[in-house]
């Protein structure tokens, strides 16, 4: 049974030996851990993710980071340099392709070869394992800002080894957040263990005097996720990371759409992450928040998409996020060109800069939402702790099994999959079906009342159709969708 317990260093190195054998790039010299430590120690502060975040937090600014990754090394470098120069990205990513995420390195290799042949990227990201420390270091050397791996990989152990040894000073992911939304039938115990390894690696570097940043993946399925659910997962993963020795954490949240609820979610997230870290005895933790621009289905019109990007940037800055992950006007079509990507960055930075001197004023409504989210998070975490008899790793596994915590629309069979979210009249995400979610009756009644209010005013039923309408809503330019006539008159019409 998995345990939230710091991995013994011997165990770590034993596993490490195995991991590095998983693909031929694992045998690279630079994967010698002492070499890697030395290399990381030599990185100038402005290229260290953890340190740049500390500075940003001190200055109260919101920095921006795109998603980006292509199959071929040269093209990937060109892409990142372009985003740094033309997009003024503060942080760079390498979004990893889906074959690598599923550890299908041979498929990834075929994708690289095929891409070379066709002269365009056939992979949806950068196959970092195949390019190895060799390639990843080249990437690192060719840019002037910190770089992070962003993926969705249930077993990212080899990947994590390779990127950190290449000077990449941050890694996104977590045992829950990179499983439930990204896999179908991999056990949670397994992914939590895998990610304990990745965290232990970062913890090890920390012990050697190298501070790296870790970012639990916040938005989960990106689709109508109630803030308390994603915040709970972020907090659990922070605790798991802290136990392995991680000190510099960025907790994430995907924009929901209602500005007050989003700002409340960001504030609650930061406060409760710090609160629980302290409560569980982890000291000297440094916590920042990241807002992900709208993670659900995007509008296809490019002007509309740009407007959504700007709106998200307003929310991130008003909410005091230290980082924001940007989207592009190509979102609803496919992986963006570098030009489209840079445009999204420029629009985003314009807003984070323009409104940096403002914060959302305190209000009864804001305080109410913060309290509501915190109450729900407390009750979810309590359930997890209870299930694990004090051990949150075990507790998380059990709680997911029983549906005490449940992520909407997730592909994983390990997810209970019974809750259904919908929006209230102001567009705040509430819960329509609770399944077994560990929430109090009072909370359930609150959510129900909010949704009934909407159903009544919109003169419609509280049903799954409301959920579907809400899933489509933002891409159609609404937040709270009205009933859509299911007898479509013109089938080619945008729903």
């Amino acid at each position: 049974m998995v345990r939230n317990k710091k991995m013994l260093i011997e165990e770590f190195f034993e596993i490490r030996g195995e991991i590095l054998k998983q693909w031929n790039t694992g045998s690279h010299d630079d994967l010698d851990i002492e070499k890697a430590v030395a290399k990381l120690k030599n990185i100038p502060p402005h290229k260290n993710f953890a340190l740049k975040l500390r500075e940003a937090k001190k200055n109260g600014v919101t920095l921006i980071q795109p998603r980006a990754g292509v199959a071929r090394l040269d093209e990937h470098i060109e892409l990142l340099q372009f985003l740094e120069k033309e997009g003024k990205a503060d942080f760079l990513p390498s979004t990893i392709d889906s074959y690598t995420r599923q550890n299908r390195y041979q498929h990834a290799q075929d994708g690289i070869d095929e891409s070379e042949k066709k002269g365009r990227s056939l992979l949806n990201g950068f196959p970092a394992v195949n390019h190895g420390v060799e390639g990843c270091s080249k990437v690192f050397d060719s840019i002037n800002v910190p770089i992070q791996a962003r993926h969705g990989t249930p077993d990212a152990r080899l990947l994590s080894e390779i990127i950190h040894a290449s000077g990449w000073t941050s890694n996104e992911g977590g045992g829950i957040s990179y499983n439930i939304p990204y896999a179908k039938s991999i056990s949670l115990e397994e992914t939590i263990k895998n990610w304990q390894y990745c965290d232990r690696l970062v913890g090890y570097y920390q012990e050697q005097g190298v501070e790296l940043n870790r970012e639990p993946y916040g938005p989960l399925t990106g689709t109508l996720v109630p803030p308390s659910i994603s915040n709970t997962v972020a907090i659990i993963e922070s605790l798991l990371a802290a136990e392995q020795g991680v000190k510099n954490l960025t907790v994430g949240y995907g924009q929901g759409g209602n500005m007050v609820q989003d700002v409340a979610a960001l504030r609650a997230l930061e406060e409760q992450t710090n609160h629980y870290l302290k409560l569980f005895g982890y000291e000297d933790m440094f916590v920042t928040t990241v807002l992900h621009q709208w993670m659900g289905g995007f509008p296809s019109d490019e002007s509309e998409a740009m407007a959504l990007i700007a709106y998200a940037s307003t929310v991130a800055t008003y909410g005091g996020a230290t980082k924001m992950i940007t989207k592009t006007t190509h979102e609803s079509f496919g992986v963006p060109t570098k030009e489209a990507n840079a445009k999204g960055l420029r629009a985003s930075k314009f807003i984070t800069n323009l409104v940096k001197d403002q914060t959302m004023p305190d209000s009864i409504e804001l305080q109410f939402e913060i309290r509501q989210i915190k109450k729900e998070v407390d009750s979810l975490i309590e359930a997890i702790v209870r299930e694990g008899k004090g051990d949150i790793a075990r507790g998380a596994v059990k709680a997911f099994k029983k549906g005490l915590i449940d992520i909407p629309f997730a592909p994983s069979e390990l997810n209970y999959g019974k809750i259904l979210p919908a929006r209230d009249l102001e567009g705040k995400i509430r819960i329509l079906e609770f399944g077994n979610l560990a929430m109090s009756d009072e909370t359930k009644e609150f959510h129900k009342a909010k949704l009934e209010e909407r159903a009544k005013l919109q003169n419609r039923e509280l049903s799954i159709q409301m959920v579907i309408d809400d899933i489509y809503a933002v891409s159609n330019g609404n937040l709270v969708q009205q009933q859509i006539n299911s007898q479509l008159s013109d089938k080619r019409v945008k729903l």
Binding site: S98, Y99, R101, Q102, R104, H107, D110, G111, E114, R120, S121, L122, L123, N124, G152, P181, Y182, A183, K184, T221, T223, G296, G297, S300, H330, S332, F333, G334, V335, P336, T337, A340, F409, A410, P411, I464, I468, I471, Y472, S475, S486, L488, K491, R492, K494, L495
Partner: protein, 134 residues
Amino acid sequence: MKTVVIGVIGADVHAVGNKIIDYVLTEKGYNVVNTGVLSSQEDFISAAIETDAKAILVSSLYGHGEMDCVFFKEKCEEAGLGHVKLYVGGNIVVGKQDFNKVEKRFKKMGFDRVYAPGMKIECALDDLREDIGI
């Protein structure tokens, strides 16, 4: 009641559209067999054989559709499913490409109907009725 097989091909985990397709087609009176995300060509084909499906609706969102769908039609024919209609939709290639060309590529691969990004399942209902009835 006509049976259709749906699923998301390859290493693709985009689940939301798949759940909606399941719901909408069921509502419209089809017998929906859903292989879910991360489905291989074999998963689709065996489901279609087992249930005597009239159409296979392949979803691919994550961009690798072009690679994942290679030889799908051929495999269907080998399995005696040459008559089964093959649809594909979602975001089936990497990036924002000229859709006319994309459609041609997939039609050449043997797909009967190819849907552009943003074409929701509701847009395919008429085609489905025309091709296999309800």
